[in-house]
């Protein structure tokens, strides 16, 4: 396992793409968060805006980059034929996928942690100027506050789980563009479905089972009982999706010739 891990780390480290994708994910997460923080405003006490959630809007964009990064870890090997060498060196499909998962998770965290910290900084610096002041009942975003910490740390975990979901899907479809299409379709479908379905029971069920919607429950800090699913159970649903995708990818990897 250690040698497989080392091999995967070397492959990731020595290609230019992943590094720039990590940088891009961090920058875009922070940038969109800053734009969103600049866009909202709070006119009076009780404006009902979930400040950490707004400051984490960038996660919606960051997840697309993270998905590309994870998909390419598998997709590029199929593109270049490298996969045959890899499988010759590490015949156990389970160990290979495990090593890839660890490396991808590490790379995603390397993007998510600075990205999320940047989002926090953007929120902390910009939002007080938009009416999120003590008079309106908003303390500056602080990572020592339990709910806020859960939202920010949780969004890094969310991005990591999205990366693992993407990795599993990529192993199943074996083609990077298709893999990205599938992942983004699955992730972005939830908000559009929720917007067109008006039956409250349907909406509730959809928001409990769709990976992006259930997963982003972790970003909420106010009015949690009204959410269809709690923060941690929601992240658990996404984790189930990721585990399912990895299982499917691993199974197909084992059953098919490379």
């Amino acid at each position: 396992m250690r040698s497989a891990l080392y091999a995967e780390w070397t492959k990731l480290r020595t290609t230019a793409g992943p590094f720039w994708l990590v940088v891009l994910a961090a920058v875009l997460t922070t940038a969109l968060s800053a734009v969103a923080a600049r866009a909202v405003s709070c006119a009076a006490t009780g404006c009902g805006v979930d400040a950490p959630l707004v400051a984490l809007t960038g996660v919606q964009l960051g997840q697309a980059v993270v998905a590309v990064l994870a998909v390419m870890v598998v997709g590029d090997e199929y593109r270049t034929g490298m996969i045959r060498t890899t499988l010759a060196a590490t015949p156990s499909r389970a160990i290979l996928l495990g090593a890839k998962s660890l490396v991808v998770a590490g790379a995603t965290l390397a993007a998510a942690v600075p990205g999320v910290l940047g989002a926090w900084l953007a929120g902390r610096l910009i939002m007080p100027g938009r009416g999120f002041t003590a008079e309106h009942g908003y303390a500056p975003l602080s990572l020592t506050d339990g709910g806020t910490l859960r939202a920010f740390a949780g969004s890094a975990l969310y991005l990591t789980l999205v990366a693992l979901l993407s990795l599993g899907i990529a192993a199943a479809v074996r083609d990077a563009p298709t893999g990205v299409g599938v992942v983004l379709g699955v992730l972005y479908m939830a908000p559009i479905l929720v917007a067109v379905v008006s039956d409250p029971d349907w909406v509730r069920r959809l928001r409990q089972i769709m990976p992006s919607d259930a997963g982003t429950a972790i970003l909420h800090t106010v009015d949690l009982p009204s959410l269809p699913i709690g923060p941690w159970p929601g992240l658990g649903v996404l984790a189930l999706w990721s585990a399912g995708a990895l299982l499917l990818g691993g199974l197909l990897l084992r059953l098919r010739d490379a």
Partner: protein, 489 residues
């Protein structure tokens, strides 16, 4: 060029996976139409609205409820009145603890509260009418057939309606002596009801939160005080028009003290708010999934050539690279337009079959526009994917770029993550502006509602939004052509 197009067409149709992809796009679009239609329990006009709303002459569903003090008017005639005052109270929304809403303190009328003169063909909701009125904050208006609204002087309090043959002319005055013409409206001849009326739309506040926008509203009651009333003659009788349709509406009352009449009540005479109910374009919401699938094909159409080395054969056969790009764009655009047309038509038919006519009505021309518009949106977006794929030469990044450029702004705006002003701005400049081709609900200047993307209202007209996407695509194609010429394959 024709040979080149045929070559590209052969490349496209001979890859089985791409044909399967086209099929998947159609299936996904229909599937989402089924989910959207089956998961709808809302009604046009909001919860509690009756199944058959009254209609204006062009089929627009309307509200027609007001407090009406009327006399019969057989032929020509003149009505004059002074609206001494128009005030209003907003009602708190009913809560479980308090099913009967209490009145709120402030007494400013709703902006579109109405008090004035009306001639109406009977008291059945939906019948033709012509009315001149003082409004809460929009001055004197002449309205007829629900959808027509004409502004008069802002500060006049004296109103006059003159019926001559098939025309009703409205006048307004500040002093009852010097009259200015507001305008005239057609109205059939025959016996009708004529008199004074009061109506006010409910009080609504739009609360926006991350992840959605909700309408918080209670009823409202307007009180109009009238004097100097002259009508066609006969007994004044009060009718609560449309009261049977909306049991929650406060009861209308009229009291007379000498020559002063006080009318009090709710209701409204206006087109319904189309934004909050089910809309026809919701059956086409699978368009973005179809677009994602086809964008993958668009990217693969060029990146696979690089991956397989086919691009060197292609360029050897056709040294003009711009022509190759043009041929690819034509083939891809044409094929995906056809696929989009099939998918959108099927989705609309299936969605309508499940949901029945429980959606804001759209005439045949609008339905053709949203179907053809969706197909064109998908086709142009796929060509954008082709161009970005040519620029990046890496499939994964190109697919992500296209989906993020088109879908993410739409999600952030329509799912009300961004405030309305920012959402409007985003839907003006990003390729997501093209989703305006799907808008079916019209904006009414005489109805206050949240005309925001979250309720299906786009800042640009259909062709304008589509032009934004085309501009992005043209720019990407130009960059792709320039890079194709400069780079080695």
């Amino acid at each position: 060029m024709i040979g080149l197009v045929r070559a590209e067409l052969t490349k496209f149709r001979s890859v089985r996976g791409w044909l399967v992809g086209c099929g998947i796009a159609v299936v996904l679009m229909v599937l989402l139409a089924v989910v959207a239609a089956a998961g709808t329990d809302a009604r046009v006009g909001g919860p509690g609205a009756r199944a058959e709303l009254p209609r204006a002459s062009d089929g627009t569903p309307v509200l027609d409820g007001f407090t009406f003090l009327q006399q019969p008017l057989a032929g020509d005639g003149t009505l004059t009145v002074r609206v001494a005052s128009l005030t209003g109270v907003a009602l708190r929304p009913p809560t479980p603890d308090e099913p009967v809403p209490t009145e709120r303190e402030e007494a400013t009328p709703e902006p579109w509260a109405k008090a004035g003169l009306i001639i109406k063909d009977g008291t059945t909701p939906g019948s033709p009418y012509a009315a001149v009125m003082v409004t809460g904050s929009h001055g004197v208006r002449l309205q007829h057939d629900f959808i027509h609204d004409l502004a008069g002087p802002a500060d006049a309090r004296w109103l006059r309606l003159v019926r001559r043959g098939g025309t009703v002319t409205a006048y307004a005055s500040t002093d009852g002596a010097a009259w200015t013409t507001v305008g005239s409206a057609p109205l059939a001849t025959g016996e009708m009801s004529a008199g004074i009326f009061v109506a006010t739309p409910p009080h609504q506040e739009y609360e926006q939160f991350v992840g959605g926008t909700s309408v918080v509203g209670g009823g409202a009651i307007a009180t109009g005080t009238f004097d100097n009333l002259t009508g066609p003659g006969g007994d004044w009788t009060m009718v609560d028009v449309g009261a049977d349709d909306s049991p929650n509406r406060p009861e209308g009352t009229s009291t007379r003290t000498g020559d002063t009449f006080v009318l009090r009540g709710g209701g409204d005479i206006a087109p319904v708010d189309g934004g909050t109910g089910p809309k026809l374009e919701q059956t086409l919401s699978g368009g973005f999934l179809a677009l994602t699938v086809l964008a993958v094909l668009g990217v693969l159409f060029v990146t696979t050539e690089y991956r397989r080395g086919m691009v060197r054969t292609t360029f050897a056969a056709t040294p003009s690279r711009v022509r190759v790009l043009a041929a690819k764009s034509v083939v891809l655009g044409g094929v995906t337009f056809a696929v989009g047309l099939v998918a959108a038509t099927a989705a609309l038919l299936v969605g309508t079959a499940i949901r029945g006519d429980n959606a804001y009505p759209a005439d045949a021309l609008t339905q053709v526009r949203i179907v053809v518009g969706t197909a064109a949106l998908i086709a142009v977006a796929t060509v954008l994917a082709l161009a970005i794929g040519t620029i990046l030469r890496r499939g994964a990044g190109a697919v992500a770029a296209v989906v993020v450029l088109i879908t993410l702004p739409y999600i952030l705006s329509a799912a009300a993550v961004l405030p309305a002003a920012t959402a409007d701005w985003v839907l003006r400049i990003t390729p997501a502006a093209a989703f305006a081709v799907q808008q079916t609900v019209p904006e009414w200047p005489q109805v206050d509602q949240a005309y925001t993307p979250a309720f299906g209202f786009f800042p640009l007209p259909a062709w304008g939004g589509f032009a934004v996407l085309c501009a992005w695509t043209a720019l990407a194609l130009a960059i792709a052509a320039a890079l194709l010429r400069r780079r080695d394959a």
